[in-house]
């Protein structure tokens, strides 16, 4: 019964998305306040029904109703309750329903927090969001219905993929989706501005918090995925340049460019059409990512099912969204000319470089990710692009970007002189070089020039990020949230670079064979395998070894890596034993039994690896602080309100 109710609610949600789109767009076009009000109601209704549908799916999972095909495929009576809820988005159909719920929630958010915006703008934005919702609801109903019944019912389910039975991975998809889907809001704003033919600083001020929130969630989602891959896949790597990771990283890079470009549009009324283009691109890349992951053109743990019908639908949807938006752009972009100028050295040019380099990095990744697919599609060679390409090429735009960041933060709008900050920036650069040499040569030993360059960049950015808040605080000037947010986010980037540079330069990894009672030395630590025993989990059996780690005779840690076999899917899973410390991880993963009690073990020493995720978290925190800025909460200005009222009267 619950499944049918859920299915029915989903159809109703689709039916409400259509009037939301129609009355939202046409109500604004013909200036009919009643239609606009109707679109607002449709948003609320759509959200309620989508939430109900989602709750129904959660309920059938909770009930272990194996007469529902999707539940039978992705759950099991032995699955712990927590993971039964996580299993709702553990595969394709349910994760799309989650997508739709997130989409509806964003629309509800826009409707709720639009008090400072003219009604017509809000209405157009909601209309565009309604179109996107309708597309996704149709996609679910036509190709990926999670409520289909299985007859006769399965006696038990096939279980959730053991890789996904993990707390970090349970919240990774929602985070990522909130980010992906969040970029539909700037997209909708861009389309609305183009329809309206008007784009000013106020528009940029409305869009900025939405873009920043989407970016924040995407940052957290990507970081969680990276963290999960690190401890769950058993390889100890934190980024693999896997097509699926790239698919989430490209919208992030463009989203980063977008929030910087929006700053210029808000403050100076420049880069207008560029900002529009970035808004369109960020959401297009989110859709492209979905297409890559869902269509089965690439294979990975994420590619739940390869169904050409689904791929075709998303590709058509992508074509309609992007094609429509770009056509509108080609038609309307000439309206958004700005005539303000800026000097070659100014905040504007630094942000221009930031944008160019971020887009450059995106192109590098896009090329490496899609080239093998094109080759395959045209029946040419089967190729893949190795991580060394990405590792080398990603640095080409990113290194100059990071070095431009330190002065860029202190450049004035219009024309920057650096008279007052020259001294402090130079001093900080000197300190950064000394620190980088001290860390790389002094603490860890010489590795390469790139290590020193990377650390110098990180320390310089970290120092430069603090200059402005500290000097404002000491001089008793006001310290708006947007400045604190910017400084915190840039400081987070510096932490990330410290982590990434150090771990990639000084990690020590080895595979070896060890028997209980044997000791081996690795990276200055002694690893002793004391015992190997069998343990039982709720839905798996495991072989667990105990490894005692000592340094100079003193015990540092005891870790318990496991090799699990889940009872239903019979897949072996590695559960790494990790001793985490602020400045290093010791990572022990079990391989396989080698005979005569011996096991293959993977031992890793990962200096500063925690800074990678800490840095990402601090970046997201910076975003959170920035959106708390007071000016985003200001009501609409007098003439804006008057104009909107006049518009309503003529209707």
């Amino acid at each position: 019964m619950a499944a049918e109710l859920g299915h029915f609610a989903l159809i109703l949600a689709f039916c409400l998305a259509l009037p939301q789109a129609f009355f939202g767009l046409m109500g604004a076009h013909w200036r009919r306040p009643h239609w606009i009000a109707l679109a607002n109601r449709a948003v609320a209704g759509q959200w309620v029904f989508t939430l109900f549908s989602f709750a129904c799916l959660s309920y059938v999972f909770y009930q272990n109703d194996f007469s529902v095909l999707y539940v039978a495929q992705n759950s099991n009576s032995e699955l712990p309750t927590f993971y039964r809820f996580a299993a709702v988005w553990g595969a394709h159909e349910g994760s799309l329903l989650l997508w739709l719920l997130v989409q509806a929630t964003w629309a509800l958010g826009v409707a709720a927090f639009s008090g400072n915006m003219p009604q017509q703008m809000t209405s157009r934005v909601l209309g565009v969001l309604g179109l996107i919702s309708a597309g996704f609801a149709l996609f679910i109903l036509m190709t990926s219905n999670p409520f289909l019944r299985l007859w006769p019912a399965a006696p038990d389910g096939r279980d959730l993929n053991p890789l996904l039975q993990d707390p970090a991975l349970a919240i990774h998809p929602p985070m990522l989706y909130i980010g992906y889907v969040g970029f539909s809001v700037p997209f909708a704003f861009a389309v609305a501005a183009m329809l309206e033919g008007k784009l000013d600083s106020l528009w940029a001020r409305w869009v900025r918090p939405w873009a920043t929130v989407a970016w924040m969630f995407l940052t957290c989602g990507i970081a969680l995925g990276s963290w999960w891959a690190y401890y769950e896949l058993g390889w100890g790597g934190w980024w693999f340049w896997d097509p699926v990771e790239n698919a989430s990283f490209m919208p992030w890079l463009i989203g980063t460019a977008l929030i910087h470009s929006l700053a210029v549009t808000e403050k100076r009324g420049l880069f207008k059409s560029w900002t529009l283009l970035l808004s369109i691109t960020a959401f297009s890349l989110s859709l492209l990512g979905t297409f890559l992951v869902r269509s089965g053109v690439i294979e990975s743990v994420h590619a739940f099912a390869s169904d050409p019908g689904r791929g075709l639908f998303i590709l058509s949807f992508l074509g309609v969204c992007v094609g429509g938006a770009l056509a509108l752009y080609a038609w309307r972009a000439p309206l958004f000319r700005s005539n303000a100028g800026f000097a070659a050295v100014s905040r504007e040019s630094f942000l221009l470089f930031n944008n160019m380099l971020l887009v450059g990095a995106t192109i590098v990744i896009l090329l490496g990710t899609t080239y093998p697919m094109f080759m395959d599609a045209f029946g040419l060679d089967k190729v893949s692009v190795g991580p060394p390409y990405f590792e080398a090429m990603f640095l080409v735009p990113m290194l100059p970007m990071v070095f431009l960041l330190a002065p860029g933060m202190h450049a004035a709008w219009k024309k920057a002189s650096f008279d007052s900050t020259k001294k402090i920036l130079g001093l900080l650069l000197g300190v950064a070089i000394v620190l980088a040499l001290a860390v790389s040569v002094g603490a860890y030993g010489w590795n390469s020039v790139m290590t020193v360059v990377g650390l110098t960049a990180a320390f310089w950015v970290a120092g430069a990020a603090l200059v402005d808040p500290i000097s404002r605080w000491r001089n008793g000037h006001s310290l708006p949230a947007s400045i604190i947010g910017m400084s915190v986010a840039h400081f987070g980037l510096a932490l990330f670079i410290i982590g990434a540079t150090t771990v990639e330069s000084y990690k020590e990894e080895t595979d070896l064979s060890l028997k209980p009672g044997q000791t081996t030395e690795h990276a200055g630590f002694e690893f002793t395998m004391t015992k190997v025993e069998d343990v039982d989990g709720p839905n798996y059996q495991a072989v667990q070894s105990e490894v005692v780690i000592t340094r100079d005779g003193e015990q540092v840690a005891v870790v318990h890596p496991q090799k699990r076999v889940y009872r239903v899917q019979k897949n072996a899973m590695t559960e790494a034993g990790i001793d985490a410390h602020w400045n290093r991880d010791l990572f022990v993963a079990m391989g396989e039994p080698l005979g005569e009690d011996a096991w293959s073990l993977r031992l890793q020493y990962k200096p500063m690896v925690r800074f990678i995720w800490l840095g990402a978290a601090v970046m997201a925190l910076g975003g959170l602080i920035a959106i708390c800025d007071r000016r985003y909460r200001k009501r609409v200005t007098v003439d804006e309100g008057a104009a909107a009222a006049a518009g309503a009267k003529t209707a």
Partner: protein, 152 residues
Amino acid sequence: MTPRRRRMTLVALIVLGVGAATAFALTAFQDNLLYFYSPSDVSAGKAPADRVFRVGGMVPEGSFTREPGSLEAHFVLTDYAHNVKVSYTGVLPDLFREGQGVIARGRMGADGVFVAEEVLAKHDENYMPPEVADSLKKQHQKPPADGPLPTT
């Protein structure tokens, strides 16, 4: 320098930078392209002798051997027409097992044994790397049937 001249210098510098970056990108791209070959291709001598490439196929039952206590493993990859012997030292992926499709990345040794640097097998029992499925199809062998429930 006049402003016009300064602007031209800036443009020239940017063009130069973008050009250099593109050249670097294309070289890095060429160097890191990994080609995929089936065991039949390898037997026919199509695979390069001096470059890293990927070879994929099924691991037949009973072909996996390892010295007790040693990390060095030997197995065979087949497309049911030709075989390639593979050696690999290190921890094998969780999903590696006989009777399943895997992909190995490495180079051809002088003795005709493929020395793998990495072995990929990240699929469940119903699934096969698409490259492997394709090359099996070419050899007129059907991939194994699906599990008890239909996959969507």
